[in-house]
């Protein structure tokens, strides 16, 4: 593979995270480039959520660094965060505000020039325009998920981090979501998706990695055969 002139969109070098004596991550390195989707699997407690929080800048590594386009992610400089979007178990939404109000607030946080336009576009993209003025408290689970996606994508982040995004989605919603992910990839975004159910994102993934015991047990291009991979995964994790 030729050396690319530009640094990868997102890099991690030797990420270590310890909680007291407990080492959750023991040295994780990764690179993600535009148009790539890295699917991360691993048993519970492997450190997947911790990894995402470190990459999102929500947690400081005990050792190692995170680089956004070659620039170190530190606590003091907020700018690199502009490129990151996170979709986690929590929606980051205020129950007493409407979906539109929540998005307008997020637009202000990201300093978007035309917050109203960005809000309209994001709501449109997830199909939430009709219920934009309902307090989030009254939205169904499916619509709540859409509102969370809208918030994550609002500022057009170049890097999207997704923590178990298919949890609780019915088949049509999952399909809709996959379409959203595909369009993000087509726009040259870099995605990291953590999931227990690799089948959900298998076709979209360009790379796959398995996190076990705080380290990569396996990493590389996404193989064609999911069944064979499942077998290998079972071996790595339970063998």
């Amino acid at each position: 593979m030729t050396e690319l002139a530009d640094p990868p969109l997102l890099s991690a070098r030797g990420l270590v995270r310890a909680f007291g004596a407990l080492q959750v991550l023991r040295g994780v390195t990764l690179d993600v480039r535009p148009g790539e989707l890295l699917a991360v699997a691993g048993p519970n407690g492997a450190g997947k959520t911790t990894l995402l929080r470190l990459l999102a800048g929500l947690m400081r590594p005990s050792a190692g660094e995170v680089l956004i386009r070659g620039q170190r992610l530190t606590r003091d400089d907020p700018e690199p965060r502009r490129a990151i979007g996170l979709l986690s178990h929590h929606t980051f939404l205020y129950d007493d505000l409407t979906a539109a109000e929540n998005l307008l607030f997020a637009a202000k946080l990201y300093g978007l020039r035309d917050g109203a336009a960005a809000t309209r576009a994001a709501l449109e993209e997830v199909g939430l325009s009709a219920r934009a003025n309902t307090p989030v408290r009254h939205l169904s689970r499916g619509l709540l998920q859409r509102a969370a996606i809208a918030r994550a994508l609002l500022h057009q982040p170049d890097i999207l981090l997704l923590d178990e995004p298919f949890t609780g989605l019915d088949a049509p919603s999952a399909d809709r979501f996959r379409t959203v992910l595909a369009s993000q990839l087509a726009r040259g975004r870099a995605l990291i998706l953590v999931s227990h159910h690799l089948a959900e994102a298998w076709e979209l993934a360009t790379h796959v990695a398995v996190l076990a015991g705080g380290r990569w047990a396996l990493e590389g291009k996404r193989p064609a055969d999911l069944t064979a991979f499942h077998a290998r995964y079972a071996e790595l994790v339970h063998g």
């Binding site: 800048g57 400081r60 965060r81 990151i84 205020y94 505000l97 109000e101 946080l109 990201y110 300093g111």
Partner: protein, 226 residues
């Protein structure tokens, strides 16, 4: 700087909008302050102590209690759906988050005080007209003092067990210098004393405000960043 203020105002604005929607914390604080005033009224013997002697202490204890009730809400709203993470993810300097929360808290405590003051005048029959500008001034000074410390402590205690109990336990020692200063100045204002007698206290209050707002801005990142 402009960006910093824009973000702080955006956060404060969001908090105010949220509180106007649910109104629970504000109403509780206002009702609580009114109750405190009523209790004080029945607790004193009007023939033994003149209202005007007791007035400053009663007023400021009321303000202090009301403030502690109102302060608890600041970071409570950020717990639902991990909303705080949503703010921390964004390119928002942590100091802007602190200042935004501080401004929102000042607004809330200000409203509680604005309701408690006329009630106080009503219940205690104390004439404060001549001293009103001064009282408003010292109220602003002292309130900034304990709300600045209260804001950062509420960020901490919201994640603990017994949050409503921890906040007063931590905060009360820090409320003493602004309270003492406020009571002294209020008392002198009501008695029509010259400004020269209050200068020392006003200097204390101002120094406290500058010192603690600065310190809180400096240490706030340690509270919210993991």
């Amino acid at each position: 700087m402009a960006e910093f203020l824009r973000l702080a105002f955006a956060i404060a604005g969001k908090d105010i909008r949220l509180e106007l929607r649910s109104r629970t914390a504000l109403l509780s604080a206002i009702v609580f302050s009114a109750l405190v005033l009523v209790v004080f009224n029945f607790a004193r013997d009007p023939t033994a102590i003149a209202a005007v002697d007791l007035a400053p202490s009663v007023l400021w204890v009321t303000f202090a209690f009301g403030a502690v009730i109102a302060l608890n809400r600041a970071f409570y709203v950020e717990r639902e759906n991990a909303a705080l993470d949503g703010i921390l993810l964004a390119p928002v300097p942590r100091s802007a988050l602190y200042v935004g929360k501080l401004l929102a808290n000042l607004a809330f405590v200000g409203v509680v005080e604005a309701v408690a003051l006329p009630l106080f005048v009503l219940f205690f029959n104390v004439s404060i007209g001549h001293a009103l500008p001064g009282i408003l001034g010292v109220t602003a000074l002292a309130t900034i003092g304990f709300v600045s410390v209260g804001t950062i402590f509420s960020a901490m205690v919201v994640r603990t067990r017994f949050a409503e109990l921890m906040l007063p336990v931590l905060l009360l020692p820090f409320m003493v210098p602004p309270l003492v200063g406020a009571v002294q100045v209020t008392s002198k204002l009501l008695a029509g004393r010259p400004l020269s007698e209050m200068v020392g206290w006003l200097r204390l209050l101002t120094l406290y405000d500058i010192g603690f707002v600065t310190l809180c801005i400096l240490v706030f990142p340690a509270v919210v960043d993991e």
